[in-house]
């Protein structure tokens, strides 16, 4: 059993409409690579040219913004829930 990743609507075209995917990974950078193997094209939507998280992408591990953790180096384990959320609201 792997980590569950919640996929936001704008990415579901790439994940064949799946709103959750499971991947085996030990940290977020691995997770993105593992997802890219299953769903080619997803990585460039999440990661910018410098290898960092894109400006308008937020990733949460069990509800905590990974910018408060170790960013893409944040470790994850099988029971964790990872959520990808566009940075778009406010008010």
């Amino acid at each position: 059993m792997g980590v569950t990743v919640r996929i936001p609507a704008p990415l579901r075209r790439v994940t064949n409409d799946l709103d959750r995917v499971e991947v085996d990974a030990e940290n977020l950078a691995d997770m993105v690579d593992a997802m890219e193997e299953q769903f080619p094209g997803i990585k460039e939507r999440l990661i910018d040219e410098t290898g960092g998280l894109r400006h308008f992408v937020n990733i949460y591990v069990n509800g905590e913004d990974v910018q408060f953790l170790q960013g893409l180096d944040t470790e994850i384990k099988a029971s964790d829930e990872v959520s990808i959320v566009p940075a778009v609201a406010g008010g």
Binding site: G63, Q67, V85, V88, A89, G91
Partner: protein
């Protein structure tokens, strides 16, 4: 429908139809409404605006909806008041207060929600929803009531009573969440993917945000068709700040006003100042913070428009000010005692921020300066309760003389 022609990704420029969409599928960039300005310039004029209603809908040519169908509580065209007493205190000869606390639900949020709810009806949504730091909650609930829509309001559990009751009274489902606004926001983003609801600040966001441009148009019109030298604006997500600037620039491009030389100054409270901190550090990437501020309406730790706000500061040669927490209430008191306007904590951040800008020499005595007061003090009584001491006496002259006059 109006002159909105498409949605466009602010990052990669890809265009999308004017649907209930807010994010680019290719780069996650936010989508923004684009207009056919050539067509607008053929119809728009000062005269046409002057003949319009005395509400924000006088600018309907520049909004992404048809004003005739607007969900309209008569929002906007709020007073721009000269503030001579506060001006004297601060050393400014031309200080104005844009008093947007007198909108139907007592904050500027009615501007954005009027557009968003109109758009939601246009798309035939039955439910209006939002993630709110407080003011948006009341506005969404009121507009949903007016439009006959169901409403779901999501707020952090620690909000001021006036904001919770001021939303609940219109009959929505109010959901308080154990967490910060950023937690509420994340939850709502997930819900917005699941339920067929119009979240005004999520899937309606490109339209919603445009409503704040009217804060720019109005001030320019009220100053006799010119933009001011300085604007002082409180920010949470940073959206309004960028849209006031956009409003001035659109008026300039349409030749409704002369060239704009406005300096846009943003203010945030020390307990939640991610955008101002990025400005001070000279970086373009806004690092999120965990908010801990008395200015709860501004408590967004991960501001979606932070990056564009920094661009607005740069383009307008403005700056950003961080107001110490204890000066938030001082700012509220200053405005109340000098001009008779009772603002909420966001307005306290504006007035104290303005004071700092003047002291720092960023604003000169003879320059036209507009302080944006965007919310009403009656909604944040908890913040100032400890500063006032009404006297209670017996109904006798003796008691009055002893306990009031000799006290």
């Amino acid at each position: 429908m109006a002159f909105a022609s498409a949605l466009k990704c602010r990052e990669c420029g890809r265009e999308y139809p004017t649907d209930p969409l807010n994010v680019c599928e290719f780069c996650f960039g936010p989508l923004e409404v684009v207009y056919d300005y050539e067509a607008i310039s053929r119809v728009v004029s000062r005269e046409r605006i002057l003949n319009g209603p005395l509400t924000m809908w006088r600018y309907q040519d520049l909004l992404p909806v048809d004003g005739d169908n607007a969900v309209d509580l008569q929002t906007g065209f709020t007073p721009l008041m000269k503030a001579p007493n506060l001006g004297r205190m601060l050393g400014l000869d031309h200080l104005y207060i844009k008093n947007d606390a007198v909108n139907p639900t007592n904050s500027f949020k009615d501007r954005v929600v009027s557009v968003a709810s109109t758009k939601a009806l246009e798309y035939e949504f039955k439910t209006l929803a939002c993630a709110s730091t407080g003011n948006l909650a009341g506005s969404v609930a009121a507009h949903a009531a007016r439009a006959g829509m169901t409403a779901y309001i999501f707020i952090p559990a620690d909000l001021e009573k006036g904001k919770v009751i001021g939303a609940a009274i219109y009959g929505p489902t109010v959901v308080a969440i154990n967490g910060s606004y950023d937690d509420v926001n994340r939850l709502c983003s997930e819900l917005a993917d699941t339920y067929p609801w119009a979240f005004v600040n999520i899937n309606m966001r490109p339209y919603y945000a445009e409503g704040s441009k009217t804060l720019g148009y109005e001030v320019a019109e009220q100053l006799g068709w010119q933009a001011p030298a300085h604007c002082i604006v409180p920010s949470a997500s940073g959206s309004m700040f960028t849209k006031i600037w956009k409003g001035f620039k659109e008026f300039e491009d349409l030749e409704l006003i002369p060239k704009v030389h406005t300096h846009m100054h943003m203010t945030q409270a020390a307990g939640c100042a991610p955008i101002a901190e990025a400005y001070e550090a000279g970086v373009t990437r806004v690092r999120p913070v965990k908010p801990d501020t008395v200015a709860k309406s501004l408590a967004i730790g991960n501001p979606a428009d932070g990056y564009y706000s920094l661009k607005t500061i740069q383009e307008s040669d403005g700056d950003a000010t961080i107001v110490p927490e204890e000066e938030v209430v001082t700012g509220i008191q200053m405005l109340a005692e000098t001009e008779g306007i009772f603002t909420e904590t966001a307005g306290g951040v504006v007035i104290s921020g303005l004071k700092r800008l003047v002291e720092r020499g960023a604003i000169k005595r003879d320059e036209v300066t507009v302080a944006y007061i965007t919310g009403n003090g009656l909604k944040t009584l908890e913040a100032v309760e400890h500063t006032v001491k009404p006297v209670t006496i017996d109904p006798t002259t003796a008691s009055f003389e002893a306990e009031v006059l000799s006290a």
